[in-house]
């Protein structure tokens, strides 16, 4: 194997997550080791909330979420829950990367414009050189339905002045950008359930093109709203197994009957290796490469071909052979056609090596976090690879395919070098990303 020059290596130096299993990355890893389920019956955050859905009661919710001290109650008034989740996960990732050490420097959102341009809550980084690129599928758009209710019931002059700040998808990155003064390139990538993976790819490109020195990336979604539930349920995408909540998310099982909607955020901090080394930052992995493709095929059914191309192109860009990959964190949503197509695609790409791969779906534990799935799953993959753990596919009794190691029910303890994480989205978006363990950083096969 040959090695890339250090300047060309992009590494992950921090991770953060808030998800149905836990409120930070460390506890998430513990839950993954234990193979816990984050799925339950939906519990409204507010007792006056309307019924979520008449048929589907299941949800993978973030429990016990407390955005303090990163967002104050006043901040929260102008922020959709998805932006609150992303902000807290960004904070954890920045802290983990050693860039946010003094929380007393943080101020409320409405106070920021009163500070001068030399306001620097982060350490040792020029604000203009740190950017943020997050993925979200839905953002705060379900709030549009609430606004419509206000218009219908009380008149349009009663719509809150901050309504747009709650609705817009880019708020999931604008709020952390303001809070932590991330003044480099900032944007969201919206590509349904592949949003986070694509955002991480875009962030990688920004670093390669030297448009920034540090990029915060990953994604978020939180869309427990009757609109989202009705729409997904009526296309028969959701599981209705209300009587066995923690056993309902069953990727790759013959009994798979739809996904369980989840919420959460997963964030990574990316930078070029020489910078990370100079700072003495901890290195989780090299972000070796990614590929995006579109099926151009069907609104909800995958073509299979597009996912195959995404996996192959990601390998080609990372200069790796299929046999170099050890673990695949699959998209595996627990929908019969999607799960089957993904495993067929993996077999097509990996050929004989398929039998030696570990393949698992974190969605068995965290449900489907939609546009945030790729971010949370990247954090799980990175923490697990670091710890030498292969995350399990829980609730797997009768696998839909033979001869594959789908890591049923129990995490495995193994050292391994390379992981691929897949995310696919309605409309035919496909994204594959590859992480290399620091042991094999910069090494490529051809």
């Amino acid at each position: 194997m040959r090695r890339r020059p250090e300047e060309d290596i992009i590494v992950v130096t921090g991770v953060g997550t808030v998800n149905p299993l836990a409120l930070n990355a460390r506890d998430t890893l513990q839950a993954v080791k234990e193979g816990r389920s984050g799925v339950g019956l939906y519990e409204p955050l507010d007792p006056n909330e309307p019924l979520l859905n008449s048929q589907v009661k299941l949800a993978a919710q973030v429990k016990g979420f407390d955005p303090n001290p990163f967002l104050t109650p006043r901040d929260l008034r102008r922020v959709h829950r998805s932006a609150a989740l992303s902000t807290v996960a960004v904070a954890e990732a920045l802290q983990d990367a050693g860039l946010l050490t003094d929380l007393s420097r943080l101020v409320e959102l409405t106070e920021i414009d009163k500070l001068g341009s030399d306001y620097r809550p982060l350490d040792g980084i020029e604000p203009g050189r740190i950017g943020i690129r997050l993925g979200t599928g839905i953002g705060g758009s379900t709030y549009i339905a609430e606004v419509q209710k206000i218009i219908d019931q009380r008149g349009d002059n009663r719509v809150p002045a901050i309504a747009m700040q709650i609705i817009l998808a880019d708020r999931v990155e604008i709020v952390p950008s303001q809070k932590f003064q991330l003044k480099g390139p900032a944007a969201v990538t919206v590509s349904a359930c592949a949003s986070s993976g694509m955002a991480m790819g875009d962030a990688l490109d920004k670093l390669r093109a030297r448009r920034a020195d540090v990029m915060v990336s990953g994604g978020v979604d939180s869309a427990f709203h009757p609109v989202a539930y009705a729409a997904f349920n009526n296309m028969r995408a959701l599981s209705r197994r209300n009587d066995s909540a923690d056993k309902a998310s069953t990727p790759f099982d013959q009994g798979a009957a739809g996904f369980i909607q989840g919420e959460g955020a997963g964030i990574v901090v990316l930078e070029r290796y020489p910078d990370a080394k100079a700072r003495g930052a901890k290195i989780y992995a090299e972000f070796a490469d990614y590929a995006d493709t579109a099926d151009a095929f069907h609104d909800t059914a995958p073509s299979g071909e597009g996912a195959v191309r995404a996996m192959r192109n990601a390998l080609a860009y990372a200069y790796l052979n299929p046999s170099d990959i050890d673990y695949i964190n699959a998209h595996g949503t627990s929908t019969p056609i999607g799960d089957r197509k993904e495993l067929e695609g993996i077999t097509e790409v990996f050929g004989d090596h398929t039998a030696r791969l570990y393949i698992s779906s974190s969605k068995s534990m965290i449900g489907h976090i939609l546009g945030g799935a790729g971010g949370v799953e990247a954090v799980i993959t990175l923490k697990a690879m670091e710890a030498g753990i292969i995350p399990p596919t829980i609730n797997l009794i009768n696998a839909i395919s033979e001869g594959m190691n789908l890591v049923p029910n129990k995490a495995l303890y193994r050292k391994y070098n390379r992981s691929m994480s897949n995310t696919f989205g309605f409309g035919g978006h496909n994204n594959s990303i590859i992480f290399n363990h620091p042991r094999v950083m910069g090494m490529f096969s051809y």
Binding site: R4, P5, R208, R210, L315, A316, Y317, N321, Y446
Partner: protein, 293 residues
């Protein structure tokens, strides 16, 4: 013939060959360069079947062969390639870095792109090969021979076979940051006394359309064309100045009143000078031509 000297003073090449310590190896490991070529090869894969044959002209340190080898693993295909370069140092390095596998075999052949029909006669399939690749090389072929290299490539193709070309040396390559590219070179040259700009640049930079025309004149159909920015980190700018071909091209762009520095001396100054540059972008132009039925 000693490595690092002109090949028999042949008119078929116009720069000094690579040698120990002055070669393309360090540069061609750089991600942006490999990525640009990998993307083009991925595009080329769309025109190739499960088993294919290819001829690589100007194979240098074996990049095209390495990319094709990787793609045979990824796409579960099989390929045989004949890789031609006049540079024995580059060929030796390429062979060392590109071992054959179950799916891939490369033959390394010393010679010029102008002569492939004679060189490969009896070696390649009689009905022609599936692909001819000319990566980062067409601009290095003496300008009057470029047409004949592309035409020779077209002649050894089977019908529906492809010619894959890219170049970062066209007249649009540095269009938007020409001064940034030129300044470090000027600074390095001035270390050797008074210099003026040569009347003709060290390398002819054609308009992309001229290469398109060459392909079409050879009876090929343009099926893919892209211009892609490629941003090089500072270390890549240092490393390209280890390549004798580049260093000589830059040296020929100046007239040194106190006499030309040696390639080694000039390379060292260029490396220091580009080592102080910010990352720089070039526009790579890509073509895939197809031979009609």
């Amino acid at each position: 013939m000693a490595v690092g000297e002109r090949v028999e003073q042949s008119p078929k090449i116009y720069h000094t060959l690579q040698k120990e310590g002055m070669n393309y190896t360090a540069f061609s490991r750089h991600y942006p360069y490999r990525r640009e070529n990998a993307e083009l090869m991925l595009e080329a894969m769309l025109y190739l079947s499960a088993r294919f044959t290819g001829v690589d002209i100007g194979s240098g340190n074996g990049l095209a062969a390495q990319l094709v080898k990787g793609m045979t693993e990824i796409f579960l295909r099989e390929a045989v390639m004949w890789c031609v370069d006049p540079d024995p140092y580059a060929l030796a390095q390429a062979e060392k870095d590109t071992p054959s596998s179950d799916r891939f075999k490369a033959h390394w052949i010393k010679g010029f792109g102008q002569d492939i029909e004679v060189l490969l006669n009896g070696q390649i399939p009689e009905d022609g090969v599936d692909m001819v690749s000319i990566l980062g090389t067409i601009h290095e072929v003496p300008p009057d021979d470029q047409t004949s290299v592309i035409s020779a490539g077209a002649r050894i193709l089977r019908p529906r076979g492809i010619v894959v070309v890219n170049s970062e040396f066209t007249d649009i390559a540095t269009a938007d940051n020409e001064t940034l590219w030129a300044m470090p070179a000027g600074r390095a040259a001035m270390k050797f006394g008074r210099v003026t700009k040569a009347e003709k640049p060290g390398l002819l930079q054609r308009a992309p359309a001229e290469y398109t025309q060459m392909g079409e004149n050879a009876g090929l159909v343009l099926v893919y064309y892209q211009v892609v920015p490629v941003t090089y980190p500072t270390q890549a700018l240092v490393d390209i100045n280890q390549y004798s071909g580049w260093v000589e091209g830059v040296r020929n762009s100046f007239i040194f009143e106190n006499g030309q520095p040696s390639l080694e001396e000039f390379s060292r100054e260029l490396q220091l000078s580009y080592g102080r540059s910010k990352p720089l972008t070039r526009q790579s132009v890509r073509w895939i031509f197809q031979k009609p039925n």
